[in-house]
Symmetry: C2
């Protein structure tokens, strides 16, 4: 299924922080490095997915933060040293895309990029490959910036939506539909989200993009010229201090807000694959295959009259007895027992642990 | 406060098994040996309580089962070897009382016994001592068999009740009331229990008894003569095999059913102390001092918008977020998360663990 086109590059964005999967995620080990949904980390499954659509490791660029450099090498032994871009400081996605694009254009001016976050969950790799093939063709043939749109399964209020317009004519021979973008929509309230879902032409914005290196570079030059010029300096001067200065000059802006919502040549490729940004324990439960009683377990559990729970405890046994809609997470120094619907209240949790002098657990 | 009467003996019954406090309790380590309510085990706090009412360790008899002999010595370093009675096999309380009484009568025919289970929770040691003093006087002066009656705090259906009759006249100078027993009542249904509580003259049967050694011996001879004769042989012949034969001959009957419910000279001493038989995690929650949000924690916990929970996790940190009325128990090889009201369903739990091939966790 792999489109083994040697001009296709994967860019994996792996610089994000966050402790929304506490107690599994910590400041020193954010979500993408965690095995929250199986034995491999989300970064590792993203890497494997990338290898399905590119020629080999030489065509996979990983962008990460200073603190995570050694973890990235550890988790991805096949990652080439020259393909790991270590950001001097935390920025947003536009600087990340710009730097990776500068690197890729320098190698192949006709390259096509598939840009993907490192912490999303996609299990149907074959459908992912098909969608990428369609998007690569569209970006080459029509000079468009493509984003994958996910058919919403329910009125999620935590995602941005994209309103699809007319179908892009002659988008290859593929049976996968490609639409022009009518509007990007911010995270909606619940009623609005319900409207989007029933309308039928709204998609979740996956944050996975396909474009030619030349195409995104032109758009960056048009909408974020200061990001572009700093990105150029990142590849011209390898001195760490010069790079730090250049990176610091870039505005911390997202590629969605900085480019996609401005550009006129953006299209939606309808994703035939399952997708979740697994932004919380509740989202992981939603995205996972359920066992008996709608429970999801990573680790050995026994459940008695218990439904809708998520257990993450690979190193012990958990017995659930008469409990519903909980998340139970066990690590070697902490246990979380939360209601699934409250499991994204990480801010409260941080505050409480800090108030108790337990900051070291964060 | 201690009534340091050298003729008072404490008999601690520590032979029971059971896994109702799973995963803390296991077949090899039942409840009385567990530190479920603090740093000391229930047996150790019972020992300390016994020492408050007797002259010294020479006056404390502990009866336990074969499997627990070394654990008893380990937890009670001051226990005298000759005061540990190791039952050749599991029997009920009547054989246990009979054997201990035979031993005590052999040392002092005028002794008074305070017989107590090893796994109850009593924190007001001073009030316990006062009640014992009253009961000791009543048993000596009136030749009665005394049991402590606990004023019911709520309509518990898991306890037996005792209906109090008329006050025993001139039961010493004590302000603690002593009543004749009208009836013993089996564990009631909820409505009946409500009736008992509102009636005002019903007490929880604590299972803690005070009597003269001669008094209980006469009753044993009257109601359970075969237990009595076997108990005599237990002290006459120390050969292990002979003892095993003698013990096996005793019927496995409780002292409540075998003697107390038959005898005419039984009185209730109204207990001024707090008491719980802590028969389940829910009972432990009920009997424990609550912290913020009606939570009870043994170990370091952080709670956010969580009420009515019991956490037992001295070796880790537990964070509760938006959960109510749960029991969370953490041990080195298992974690239980149960609704408090279901926490006594140990039978189901056993069956499930056995079905999963996890019997070794029981």
């Amino acid at each position: 299924m792999a489109s083994v086109d040697p001009r296709v590059y994967a860019v994996i964005m792996a610089g994000g922080g966050g402790t929304r999967f506490w107690p599994l995620s910590r400041q020193r080990k954010p979500k993408q490095f965690l095995s929250i949904a199986g034995e491999q980390s989300l970064l590792q499954t993203t890497w494997d997915r990338a290898l399905e659509i590119v020629y080999g490791p030489e065509n996979v660029i990983v962008v990460t933060a200073n603190d995570y450099e050694s973890m990235a090498h550890e988790q991805l032994p096949d990652l080439l040293q020259e393909n790991l871009l270590v950001e001097p400081q935390a920025r947003n996605t536009a600087p990340c895309v710009a730097w990776a694009t500068a690197v890729i254009r320098d190698r192949d001016v006709d390259a096509v990029e598939v840009v993907m976050p490192s912490d999303h969950l996609i299990t149907d790799v074959q459908a992912f490959g098909s969608a990428v093939t369609t998007a690569v063709e569209a970006s080459r043939d029509h000079g468009v910036l493509a984003t994958f749109g996910i058919t919403p399964r329910y009125p999620e209020t935590g995602y941005g939506y994209i309103e699809a317009g007319t179908t892009l004519s002659s988008a290859g021979d593929s049976s996968i539909e490609v639409f022009r973008v009518e509007h990007f929509r911010e995270k909606p309230d619940f009623e609005t989200a319900e409207g989007y879902v029933s309308a039928g032409n709204y998609y979740w914005n996956s944050g996975i993009f396909v474009w030619t290196a030349g195409g995104i570079w032109r758009s960056l030059e048009e909408y974020l010229p200061e990001v572009c010029s700093a990105a150029k300096r990142m590849i011209e001067d390898v001195d760490p201090e010069a790079r730090a200065v250049a990176y610091a000059e870039m505005p911390g802006i997202s590629i969605d807000f900085g480019v996609m919502e401005q550009a006129k040549n953006v299209v939606i490729v309808r994703a035939g694959f399952d997708w979740s940004d697994v932004g919380s324990w509740a989202a992981l439960h939603e995205a996972s295959v359920k066992s008996e009683g709608d429970n999801v377990a990573f680790g050995e559990i026994a459940q008695i009259d218990s439904t809708g729970n998520l257990v993450h405890a690979p190193d012990t046994r958990v017995v659930l007895l008469g409990v519903d809609n909980l998340v139970v997470v066990h690590t070697d120094d902490a246990v979380l027992v939360a209601s699934l619907e409250r499991s994204q209240d990480v801010k409260l949790l941080r505050e409480r642990l800090e108030a108790l002098g337990l900051d070291h657990l964060l």
